[in-house]
Structures are given as structure tokens and as C-alpha cells.
């Protein structure tokens, strides 16, 4: 298994849409074959359509607000000693997280397809918040599927979704988290694909959704390549790009344009509570390949193939599977993956928020936890860049409960 140079990673699949012959594909009910084929054809056309690209760039500039800042975390670097730590502050994008890129593109596509309705899943509530925002902006009616457990623990985003005029459908099956929200959203699309487009909130699901999402979030690294060259004159030899991974959409966007460079990619999964047997880290903990939500991937499951329970303090990472693209990056050794547990993420949030002007949400706090572990072991010529892809404000309640107080 090998990654080809000069070809976008999303296009490195075979005729069955499998990456490395093992990951991805379209394991879908017959009813979804045609809508997915239609979307695939439309997207293939649009990504080469200059007018569409201009439109995307226009809304990315005027609506999403690109480029997002690239800053040095001076105090954190001094405090830890060792590597120079930087952050790509993607949480400065409109809405407060990277989910806005995928949501905007999906709404633009839905408009082109002549659809009036759009539905999406959400875990942390960001994908839902952004889709509801973009839907409002582009005049589409919007429904968001969200696990009942996540509705309780991500209140600020739930309120935002409602304020944007979208309907929230609470999902009470299974673990009542992201995995069930994605299933329910797909079931809804099975029944309504004649009038409705679906936006999968991450680089998971049938192949076309992986493609659209990764293509959209790639904006992050398009900017970052320029910003890094401005800062260092070139891409530094020893540069590590750290990103949390749940479904893997922000990491794909953060790494995409660096694929053919020497930059080292480290993905950080959610290790769950300390001393718990539950986690959301299929790559770190050696889960087997299985099929979840239409795609083959490493997935937490039992011997029989029943999808396993997960646990993480961060709703956005609390997912048993992982993007087939990350499975591909892992098996080709282009990226390496590790995990941080709930406690480490909380501590990282606290330290970064105390020292710096940014305050990462619990998802990127997992990546900061790894930066905190790594930095002291490295030299000052080493560069660590963390994708700070969400703001802690949405986690205020959880943080208060766990740490007693909330700082930002």
C-alpha cells in the first residue's frame, strides 16, 4: 500500500472507491445508489468548474472568513521548553470551528442540485450549528440529527442550531451519541432523497461524502502552507502537524496540502476516561476493519461485528469509526496516531487557556495534550503546529463540572 505523489489523496481510490484496496467503498442500500451516483457526478463536475470555485472562494472569504490566524504560542513554548509551538486558529472561522467549510460547500452543492432541504448529523454540535447557519444563509430548510446525550452536553451549540431556524431531531437509539445520529440521518435520507440533500459532518460515510468534506476542509492547509512559508521562509525540515481525530475532517484539511512534503502528521484520538475500558480510539488501540455507515474502516466493534460502545469527554471525537482516509494514512505510515485521555485533554485545555489568548475546545485539547507531552523532548529548532479547530465556549458546562471553574 502506497500513497501516490501529486494526486489528491481523496482521488487515490480504485474503481470500487476503496483506498489501498481496503478502506472506504460504498456499502449502501440500493435506494441510495442513485442519489449517491448523482452527487458523485455533480461534484466531479463542480470541482473543475471555474465559476463554482470562484463562488466557493467568494463565500470562504466573505462568509467563512479566511484565512484564519496562524500564531506562535510563545508562553506555552517557553513554559514547556523544547519545540516551538504554533497554533492554526481555525476556531476563528465563522461559527467557531472547521465544520463551516464542509457545511458551506454542501449548501452550495445542494443549491446547484436544485434541492430545497438539507439534513446533517452532529456530535459536538458544530457540524449541526454550521450546517444550520449555512442553510439559513443559502435559503435551505435544515434538519439536524443529534444524539440525546449530546444534546444535553453541548447546550450552547444546540441553542445556536435552534436560533438558526433548523429543526433538531433528538436520536434516542443506541448510545444516543454521534454514531446513532449518523445512522438516523442516513435512514432519513434513504426515505427522503428525492427532495433532500444530506451533509455528512465528517470525512466518513459513503465515498462521496468523504471526498466533499476533505476537499472542503483542505482550505485550512491551503492557507497554512502560505503562512508557514511566510513565517519560516520555507517549510521547516522538522515540523509536526498535530490534530485531533474523531471522524477526521479537520485533520484531513490540516494535512492535505502538506501530503508531499516532509511534514510529520500526528493524529490524536480520544482515549476516553483514564482507567476506563471505553475509548474512541480505533487506530491507537488496534481495532479491526469493519463496515460502518457505508464504508470499510478501522472501527471499534466486537468479534461478531456489532459496533462497540465508545466514551469520550469530547462529543466531537466520540465515534467508534474513523475516516477511511486516516486508515489509509496509517497503513501507509504517512501519519501516526496516538491518543490522549479525558484528563489529559482537560489539563491541556486549562494550561493553554491560562497561558495564551486562545482557548481550545475539548477536541483540539486532545492534540494540545500530545504537544505538551512532545515539546519538552524536542529541540528549539523543532516546530509543532496544532490545529486549534474549536473554541472551548461550547464546553463551558462540562469544564465547570470537571474542573470547578471555566476560564477562557
Amino acid at each position: 500500500m502506497k500513497i501516490k505523489k501529486g494526486i489528491p489523496l481523496i482521488d487515490q481510490h480504485d474503481k470500487n472507491f476503496m483506498y489501498g484496496g481496503k478502506f472506504g467503498g460504498n456499502f449502501i442500500p440500493e435506494t441510495l445508489k442513485k442519489p449517491i451516483d448523482d452527487l458523485t457526478t455533480l461534484f466531479a463536475k463542480l470541482r473543475n468548474d471555474k465559476k463554482f470555485l470562484r463562488e466557493r472562494d467568494h463565500y470562504f472569504r466573505s462568509y467563512v472568513g479566511v484565512p484564519t490566524p496562524f500564531i506562535k504560542l510563545e508562553k506555552l513554548s517557553d513554559h514547556l521548553g523544547g519545540a516551538q509551538i504554533y497554533a492554526k486558529v481555525v476556531s476563528e472561522a465563522n461559527g467557531g470551528a472547521h465544520k463551516i467549510y464542509n457545511a458551506t460547500v454542501h449548501c452550495l452543492i445542494a443549491k446547484r442540485a436544485g434541492k430545497k432541504f438539507i439534513v446533517g448529523d452532529t456530535g459536538a454540535g458544530y457540524a449541526g450549528k454550521m450546517l444550520s447557519m449555512a442553510a439559513k444563509k443559502f435559503g435551505l430548510k435544515c434538519k439536524i440529527f443529534m444524539g440525546a446525550k449530546d444534546i444535553k452536553r453541548q447546550r450552547p451549540n444546540v441553542e445556536a442550531i435552534k436560533k438558526n431556524g433548523a429543526t433538531i431531531v433528538p436520536v434516542r437509539t443506541g448510545s444516543q451519541t454521534l454514531v446513532d445520529a449518523v445512522s438516523e440521518c442516513m435512514r432519513y435520507w434513504v426515505a427522503n432523497n428525492d427532495t433532500t440533500n444530506m451533509c455528512v459532518g465528517s470525512t466518513v460515510g459513503p465515498n462521496i461524502f468523504i471526498k466533499i468534506c476533505a476537499w472542503s476542509t483542505a482550505q485550512i492547509s491551503r492557507e497554512l502552507v502560505k503562512q508557514v512559508k511566510e513565517e519560516f521562509g520555507k517549510i521547516p525540515k522538522k515540523m509536526k502537524l498535530l490534530n485531533c481525530v474523531g471522524g477526521g475532517s479537520s485533520a484531513m484539511g490540516f494535512w492535505n496540502e502538506f501530503m508531499d512534503t516532509d511534514a510529520e502528521f500526528i493524529g490524536i484520538e480520544a482515549g476516553g476516561p483514564k482507567n476506563s475500558k471505553y475509548h474512541a480510539a480505533p487506530l491507537t488501540n488496534g481495532s479491526k476493519i469493519g463496515i460502518l455507515h457505508g464504508a470499510a474502516q478501522y472501527v471499534i466493534q466486537d468479534k461478531e461485528g456489532q459496533i462497540g460502545s465508545t466514551e469520550s469527554i469530547s462529543a466531537g471525537l466520540d465515534y467508534p469509526g474513523i475516516s477511511p482516509l486516516h486508515c489509509f494514512l496509517k497503513d501507509t505510515k504517512r501519519a501516526r496516531y496516538t491518543s490522549a485521555n479525558d484528563e489529559e485533554a482537560l489539563k491541556a485545555y486549562q494550561l493553554v487557556s491560562k497561558l495564551e489568548n486562545i482557548s481550545p475546545s475539548l477536541e483540539p485539547s486532545h492534540a494540545f495534550a500530545e504537544a505538551i507531552k512532545l515539546a519538552p523532548k524536542l529541540k528549539s529548532s523543532d516546530v509543532i503546529i496544532v490545529n486549534s479547530c474549536g473554541d472551548s465556549l461550547k464546553d463551558k458546562d462540562i469544564i465547570k463540572e470537571k474542573l470547578g471553574s471555566y476560564i477562557r
Binding site: 449502501i28 442500500p29 442513485k34 435512514r187 466493534q301 459496533i307
Partner: protein
């Protein structure tokens, strides 16, 4: 040699009626009860579909999800599903039984191992919800070599040229999904329209046995009886749910329901 599934359709055609196909979930609500249900309803049903439950189904509605959840909560494993099939086939060797489920369980078992177990327990056919054409070509071929029917699905969204290819690759039975819906949705398309679509498929190859499923209940079944076969699933699962709540004998209640369904199409 003709398959048991073909023989059933031949018999029904002679009797000038649609075949009645039922769907229940293995292990719902216990292994013993689900076997009892199969044994009882097989007096009236022509073909039995038996779901092997998955906890992350992407095409099932609430009723079947609930049945699957009950079965899994009781600790049902795939080997138990095969045991149920084996016991059922021992008492009703000629009644076709089709297992229905999602691909991940087969993937984890290994395709060959799974088919070996199907063969050993007497499974006549398989419906794999999330393994569409052409992704299913290899697996369908393996099924054929073992004389197990791989049942292709067609839906209202399937374009005509794709339909032709799928029909060409199909075995003795094809499943037509009546409408855009998960299982158990209300019939939101008129029976007339469904039969129109059904006839379009029949015109491509009139020899194929086409069954219609999704949204079929005791209220709608009579209006579709011109089809080669009709599948009732969610209503049976819902009936099981209700009879458990009321502490009734599920097999008895289901027997009555299947009997009434049958009466409506003969």
C-alpha cells in the same frame, strides 16, 4: 435442480396467488420464542425471512430496530441464528428460509465461513441490505456456487439500465422496495404506482420472481396482490413488541396475523 425458492413461486403461480413472505428477527424476543414463531407462522407463510440483527442498521425503521435491539440485548450471537435456522429446517425442510442482514457480520465471519454455516444450517437465500450491485458480484457468485440464492434489491431510484444489469445478475428472486423509505414506513406511494413500477421490472424479464416489500401491512396487502410475492416485516415486529407489552403469547398472536394476511391475498 430447482431451488426451494423457485418451487414455491411455481406453486403459487399455479394457485394464481402471490407468495406471502414474512420477516421476523432471530432471537426476538428470545431464541426459543423466535423459533416457535417460525414454526407457527410457516403454516401460512410461503417463504420466511429471518433477520440477523445488527446494532447500527442504516436502512431499518423503528420497529425492526426495536426487535433487533431486544434480540441483541438477550445476547444473541450469529451462531445462535444458525442454530435457530437448523432447528427450523429440521421440522420444515422444504420451507424456504432467507437470512437478511448487514454486511459487517459476514465480513467479520469471513465470506466463505459464513456461507459454510448457511449451507450447514439449511439457509436458502440471503438478503444483504448494504451490499448493492456491483459491489455484491463476487459474493453473489460465491452464493450461487453453494446453491444459495443471493437476492438482489431494486428500488424506485434504480435507473432502467442499472435495473437491467441487476436483473441479469439475479438468481431466483428479486426484492423490489416499494418506496423511498426505511423499513416500516407508511405506504406513501399509491399501490397503483407501485404496481406500475413492478410491471416495468416484469417487462424487462417476466420470468423473474419479483416480490414487493416495505410499507406492507394487513391494510395495504390486498391492493398489491398481483405481485409474485409480498413481504410483511415491520408490522410483525411491531406486533411482537405489542404482545410482549401485553404479556400475550407472541407465537399465537403472530400466527393469527399471518393467517389473516394470507387470507387477504388468496
Amino acid at each position: 435442480m430447482k431451488s426451494k425458492i423457485s418451487l414455491v413461486f411455481e406453486k403459487c403461480k399455479k394457485e394464481k396467488r402471490a407468495a406471502l413472505i414474512t420477516y421476523t428477527v432471530a432471537g426476538d424476543n428470545t431464541q426459543k420464542n423466535s423459533l416457535k414463531i417460525l414454526n407457527t407462522i410457516s403454516k401460512h407463510a410461503d417463504i420466511l425471512e429471518l433477520g440477523f440483527p445488527h446494532n447500527t442498521p442504516i436502512a431499518d425503521g423503528g420497529q425492526i430496530q426495536e426487535s433487533s435491539h431486544r434480540a441483541l440485548k438477550n445476547g444473541l450471537k450469529l451462531k445462535n441464528v444458525f442454530q435457530i435456522v437448523k432447528k427450523f429446517k429440521k421440522s420444515s425442510p422444504n420451507k424456504p428460509l432467507i437470512m437478511m442482514g448487514y454486511f459487517n457480520l459476514i465480513y467479520q465471519s469471513g465470506e466463505n465461513n459464513f456461507l459454510k454455516n448457511c449451507k450447514a444450517s439449511g439457509v436458502d437465500g440471503l438478503i444483504i441490505v448494504d451490499l448493492p450491485y456491483p459491489e455484491n458480484v463476487n459474493f453473489a457468485y460465491k452464493c450461487k456456487k453453494k446453491s444459495i440464492n443471493f437476492i438482489q434489491l431494486l428500488s424506485p431510484t434504480t435507473p432502467k439500465n442499472r435495473m437491467k444489469k441487476i436483473i441479469k445478475d439475479s438468481h431466483d428472486m428479486i426484492y423490489y422496495i416499494s418506496m423511498l423509505s426505511t423499513t416500516g414506513g407508511r405506504l406513501k406511494v399509491s399501490p397503483k404506482k407501485i404496481l406500475q413500477n413492478y410491471n416495468k421490472i416484469k417487462r424487462i424479464n417476466s420470468k423473474k420472481n419479483i416480490v414487493i416489500g416495505f410499507g406492507i401491512t394487513n391494510k395495504t396487502i390486498a391492493s398489491l396482490k398481483k405481485a409474485d410475492g409480498l413481504v410483511v416485516g415491520s408490522q410483525l415486529c411491531k406486533t411482537i413488541t405489542n404482545s410482549i407489552k401485553k404479556r400475550l403469547n407472541t407465537a399465537k398472536v403472530l400466527n393469527k396475523m399471518v393467517y389473516n394476511l394470507k387470507k387477504k391475498i388468496i
